[in-house]
């Protein structure tokens, strides 16, 4: 059944191709190693899910880190109690994040606008503090939840008799989830998540969410109950966050409360706005850019810069290197901050808007050259 237009099919295939070929085209950019690409994919999932809530309904949650954290805890507990297989871990992560999202969403969605944001922030900080205090038996507080050799791993132990030394690693039916196999696992899930998000955007349900963002009054007087629509969107985006959290645990099987801190919630807001709120690929772009800055750009030190500017005469390079050095390495936050300010002011639609403007500009410039117009038809010549 061909349910979506050709445009969407190509968009989806293009997205899948770009994600799967990341190990190739990221090499010249210095990011072609699996750990980082895994992070791109995981935070891409986080941001795509966040965008289903923020992009479609306009409800800005400042508490999505709570779902990320719960996803991680649930996944690590699944590793400890049942099996090192990642499938149950991911399912538990999604399930528990969904449950928490239902509770937080049910309460927070009684208010809108800034009050909604504050409520979600409060609930997330509450979760964060609970993880450090009352819930220590579950979360292991400051130490964080880790694997240990004494873990029961009930399902695994049914099949494997021998006791190995050292901690087991996460697997997908025997394939170790480290290095490239780990990345491809996350990449496939990311592509799946993108597909689901695209379907939601193009569905009647997605139209309802856009209606909520556009005019809630009209929704009500049209006979639509907005609350369950918003709650469903909230739970879906919470589940995306839980999925991302559980994948973080798949790559590195430990979970700590710092994952739930408000800065992590803020980060996903930045990713979404930077890439383009309410667009399909924007959140992925934003997530990739921020993670790239955090991991690669921050590694550029003065040695790298001196090499890069070695073509300049020494007298010039001595001035240029320290100035540029302010913006890279430890100063990457500064660059990101400036970029963020510039984008919010000049491109409210984020990178996606910038790209589409660029495309429009190029098309306009190309047309007189490549078009079928005869020279005498061209105006002003």
């Amino acid at each position: 059944m061909m349910n979506f237009t050709l445009n969407d099919t190509t968009r989806f295939l293009l997205f899948a191709a770009v994600i799967l070929t990341m190990p190739i085209w990221l090499i010249p950019l210095g990011g072609g190693y699996p750990d980082l690409m895994q992070k791109f994919a995981i935070y891409g999932i986080f941001a795509i899910g966040f965008n289903i809530l923020f992009g479609l309904t306009g409800y800005l949650s400042f508490g999505h880190a709570a779902f990320l954290g719960v996803g991680s805890y649930a996944a690590v507990w699944s590793f400890k109690l049942f099996t090192m297989n990642v499938i149950p871990a991911v399912l538990f992560g999604v399930l528990f994040a969904g449950l928490l999202a239902f509770i937080i969403g049910f309460l927070s969605l009684r208010r809108s606008g800034i009050y909604f944001s504050i409520l979600t922030l409060a609930f997330a900080q509450m979760s964060y503090n609970l993880a450090y205090s009352v819930l220590t038996p579950v979360t292991y507080g400051e130490t964080g939840l880790q694997l240990s050799q004494q873990d029961p791993r009930l399902i695994d132990n049914l099949f494997i008799e021998e006791v190995s030394t050292g901690l087991p690693s996460t697997t997908l039916f025997g394939i170790k989830m480290s290095g490239y196999s780990g990345f491809y696992f996350c990449a496939v899930i990311l592509i799946l998540c993108f597909f689901i998000s695209m379907r939601i955007f193009r569905s009647p349900f997605g139209l309802m969410l856009k209606g909520i963002k556009s005019n809630q009054n009209r929704m009500k007087y049209t006979g639509l109950n907005t609350r369950p629509y918003m709650l469903t969107a909230f739970v879906i985006s919470g589940m995306y966050a839980g999925l991302a959290g559980s994948l973080l645990a798949v790559t590195d099987p430990l979970a700590g409360a710092e994952r739930m801190q408000w800065t992590a919630s803020g980060e996903v807001v930045l990713m979404t706005i930077l890439g383009g709120v309410g667009t399909l690929v924007g959140p992925m772009l934003g997530a990739g850019l921020i993670k790239y800055f955090e991991n690669i750009f921050s590694g550029f030190d003065n040695n790298v810069l001196t090499n890069a500017f070695s073509f300049l005469p020494d007298s010039v390079a001595e001035v240029v290197v320290p100035v540029v050095g302010l913006f890279v390495g430890g100063g990457w936050h500064l660059t990101l901050g400036i970029l963020f300010v510039v984008i919010v002011i000049y491109l409210p639609g984020g990178i996606v808007e910038g790209l589409s403007r660029l495309m429009a500009m190029l098309r306009k410039r190309e047309r007189p050259v490549n078009g079928n117009m005869k020279p005498q038809d061209q105006p002003g010549e």
Partner: protein, 252 residues
């Protein structure tokens, strides 16, 4: 007179010390157009707000076709079949005209909430056809892929009317549907409202423009200072001394 479909019984509503509506009683016959006229601040919009559930009356009841509307949520009242065109058009400005009209069509088909994320808009041919049909009725089909926010005020009103019509309401409430329109646009809207008159829905219309009232209404009620002071056929009301006084007020 058995086919009275809307009953407003003894409606009272006050805001603080201000009595907006006092003992308002109103019956509307099924399939007719009932105009409510009155000077500014007479409580006309408050009356509509009470009907659609935006406001809860302090005293009194609203019943539609035997169903109690008082105390119900706006979306529940809308699902019963009461639609409203607002004084300032309530549309979805960021969406295309087509989407603006398709959205209510889903409300009509699927009810107040349905989790239909697995379907795709592009596969809903029936809804799309119906929406295009309605847009043709209100004269906006050529622009159906434009953003609704870019429409002129008159076109926005027509769009909102289309969004209400696709709900196939049994009662349509129109709050000054021609306010701020040019004479030409007003006449077009009158024609449109006359066209839908034949569909047998009951309409309540609030209007200042007497030309519109006399073109459309079967019955007229006059509201002044929160009370209904006169009612009857348009001709009767026109001749009523109290009405003249209410409109001219203490001006002389």
């Amino acid at each position: 007179m058995d086919n009275l479909v809307l009953h407003l019984d003894n409606i009272n509503k006050s805001f603080g010390g201000l009595k907006a509506l006092t003992d308002v009683n109103l019956q509307v016959e099924e399939g007719t157009t009932h105009a409510i006229i009155g000077p500014n601040g007479a409580g006309k919009s408050t009356l509509l707000n009470v009907c659609v559930g935006r406001l809860k009356p302090d005293v009194g009841h609203v019943t539609f076709d035997g169903q109690e509307l008082t105390g119900k949520q706006p979306h529940e009242i809308a699902q019963i079949g009461v639609a409203r065109v607002f004084q300032t058009p309530e549309i979805f400005p960021e969406m295309t005209l087509l989407e603006n009209v398709m959205l209510p069509a889903f409300s009509k088909r699927d009810g107040a909430f349905r989790m239909n994320a697995h379907h795709q808009l592009s596969s809903q041919a029936e809804i799309r056809d119906e929406a295009e049909h309605i847009l043709e009725d209100v004269g906006l089909k050529e622009q159906m892929l434009n953003e609704a926010g870019s429409l002129s005020r008159g076109d926005k009103r027509r769009l909102e009317l289309g969004m209400c019509l696709i709900l196939h309401p049994r009662l349509l409430l129109l709050d000054e549907p021609t306010a701020g329109m040019s004479r030409h646009d007003t006449n077009r809207t009158i024609d449109l409202l006359k066209k839908i008159k034949s569909r047998g829905m009951t309409k309540i219309i609030i209007e200042h423009d007497m030309h519109v009232v006399f073109s459309l209404a079967d019955k007229v009620s006059v509201l002044a200072r929160g009370q209904i002071i006169a009612g009857g056929s348009p001709e009767e009301v026109r001749e009523d001394e109290r009405v003249k006084e209410a409109y001219l007020g203490g001006a002389h």
